[in-house]
Amino acid sequence: MRLSLGPISYFWPREQVLDFYRQAAASAADIVYLGEIVCSKRRQLGPEDYLDVGEALRAAGKEVVLSSLTLLEAASELGALKRLCANERFTVEANDVSAIQLLSAAGQAFVSGPSVNIYNQRSLRLLAAKGLRRWVLPVELGLATLRDLQAERPEGVETEVFACGRLPLAWSARCYTARSFNLPKDNCQFKCIEFPDGRLLQTQEGEDFLVLNGIQTQSALTHEAIALLPEFQAMGVDVLRISPQSAHTFRIVELFDAARRGGDLAALRTELLTLLPLGACNGYLHGLPGMDHGAPQAA
């Protein structure tokens, strides 16, 4: 079982990003996904910077994957995607079907991210023939479907599961962070940089419900599946993904590393729950509403 660090979904200052990846190089993560997946206006790092970071991580022994923008609207974004897919140094994680089209046309093997809708075996088989070498289970799918898909997984395709992080739930033309300041997207004043873990949205009763992250909406609760590690192993899942948060990410990587080495899952999970900004959920994996927290697994 390998561990991956998903792409940073928030807008962090350049130094914070570079520091994060210096720590990543020294961490137990095996795979690191790099790149801006939410908003093309976020340019603390440019494409060349990510290539440099990627080389440094590769030198530290990491597998490096460049993640593509998820929702493409402007022609300029498609242009940037074409340049990303034409890079010959790193594999690309396709977060939109347009990236799959570009990569398969170029004969490049690729990874599909959680927002590519692979819900059944026929989709998986079709994409495998197009060059898919690893796929991330869409986050709303549960263990039962994962088990069915693993049973028919095509040769040469690895499976990755989103195992810790706020859930990417929706993408829009509208920037909700800007809207929360009464600003339009075209004059957003880069407000996202003030919210290193997104901006909290609560119900009128004060329940922590969602997080606004620019044009992306996330769960306020952090999805976690550390105690399910033995089940993932039994199903032949290859990679567990940890989605970066502004604090404690590398402690979380250590906890998952200990878990895969046979550590006490109950104890590891107890500590993990103290490291999440606003509490945990994992209902999706149990076929429940995503915001639910399934019964603690016997460990």
């Binding site: 998820t70 929702l71 493409l72 609207e73 402007a74 022609a75 498609l78 995607l81 939109d96 079907v97 347009s98 990236a99 089209q101 570009l102 927002s115 809708n117 819900y119 059944n120 075996q121 026929r122 989709s123 994409l127 986050v139 709303e140 799918l141 039962a144 479907t145 069915d148 898909l149 859930l167 739930l169 929706a170 993408w171 829009s172 033309a173 509208r174 920037c175 909700y176 809207r179 929360s180 339009p184 075209d186 901006r199 949205l201 609560q202 119900t203 009128q204 009763e205 004060g206 329940e207 419900f209 969602l210 606004l212 909406t217 769960s219 999706y284 076929g287 509403p289 995503g290 915001m291």
Partner: protein, 331 residues
């Protein structure tokens, strides 16, 4: 510019056709389509009548099979494809790659449209579905500005269909999981958003609370008209403020930009609302028919009629309409 109208049952289909729809779209009575609501949609037999009614009048019938099957349900989606194909409908509106692959292999002559639920917003994405499954039209998500629609239409290998009127999804369709996060059921997996089975209305002396699986979506004061708790259209607290943090209850209305849509060369204008009544379908179809006819006839001199706007406002969510993402400042 074809006018494509919704039908949740036979009376709505007749209302659409009698009021000038060029094509009607409908779905089966299960989770194979994105309007899987109790009491809605067509059995195989009622669909047979629908096909006859449309074809006798020279109109088209499209069947939406636009949710995402998981392995345990895949056979049901195949059956839906086979049933629709067997009834000789004019096109299927599909979203899932696996279902598209099955449909184009099993029914190579059947016309396929790419559903908005496929979430494709650019020409390279469209090319993927065109090259692999031979789609002949794409329905664009409601996230593009009008300039972006123009660009995609120009680059696209197939004609584009856009939404012209109806309830507004503010998130890109096919990749919105808000509903399953709260209820376990999403458009992708179950064919419903904010499903009625999970809605609760709680009256008290302070007014009305509307909840979705227990989550407070909105609170209305005494005398304030309470709306359906669609997740993205509630009032929430962000920072110091309580407001419609994602979107207000509002409907999309494109009457003001019809000439631009015509100039762009969109192939079809779609009306949302298979869950709405036959009266709604009749009224909206009649207005859209008149507007499109005027637009085609008058060209640049076209102006949306005040009466049309009032009629559409009266059947809109929150009795108000917007140009949505077509209009850049909305974003």
């Amino acid at each position: 510019m074809e006018l494509v109208c919704p039908a949740g049952n036979l009376p709505s289909l007749k209302a659409a056709i009698d009021n000038g729809a060029d094509a009607v779209y409908a779905g089966f009575r299960d989770d194979t389509n994105a309007r899987h609501f109790a009491g809605l949609n067509f059995s195989d037999r009622s669909l047979e009548q629908a096909v006859r009614y449309a074809q006798e009048r020279g109109r088209k019938l499209y069947i939406a099979i636009n949710t995402y099957p998981q392995p345990s349900g895949f056979e049901r989606w195949k059956n839906a494809v086979d049933n629709a194909a067997g009834l000789r409908v004019d096109a299927l509106i599909l979203a899932d790659m696996g279902v598209l692959d099955y449909a184009c292999e099993r029914w190579p002559d059947l016309r396929l449209h790419l559903s908005v639920q496929a979430s494709v917003t650019n020409a390279e994405g469209i090319r993927f579905y065109h090259e692999n499954f031979g789609i002949r039209r794409v329905v664009l998500p409601r996230v593009l500005s009008i300039q972006q629609v123009a660009h995609v239409a120009q680059e696209s290998p197939v004609p584009v269909e856009v939404f012209g009127f109806g309830s507004l999804c503010v998130m890109v369709e096919g990749r919105c999981l808000l509903s399953s996060y709260a209820t376990g059921r999403s458009p992708n997996t179950y064919g419903a958003c904010s499903p009625a089975s999970h809605v609760r209305w709680e009256e008290s002396k302070d007014g009305t609370d509307t909840r979705l699986n227990g989550v407070l979506i909105d609170h209305y004061g005494p005398g304030e008209k309470a709306g359906y708790p669609t997740l993205c259209k509630g009032r929430f607290r962000v920072g110091e403020h309580t407001f419609y943090a994602l979107e207000e209850p509002t409907s999309l209305n494109t009457l003001a930009i019809l000439p631009r849509l015509r100039e762009i060369g969109v192939a079809a204008i779609k009306v949302e609302g298979r869950q709405r009544s036959p009266a709604y379908v009749a009224q909206v179809t009649r207005v859209m028919r008149a507007a499109i006819d005027h637009c085609l006839r008058d060209g640049d001199r076209y102006q949306p009629d005040g009466q049309w706007m009032r009629e559409l406002d009266s059947v809109s969510e929150g009795s108000q309409t917007t140009l949505g993402a077509y209009h850049r400042p909305w974003q």
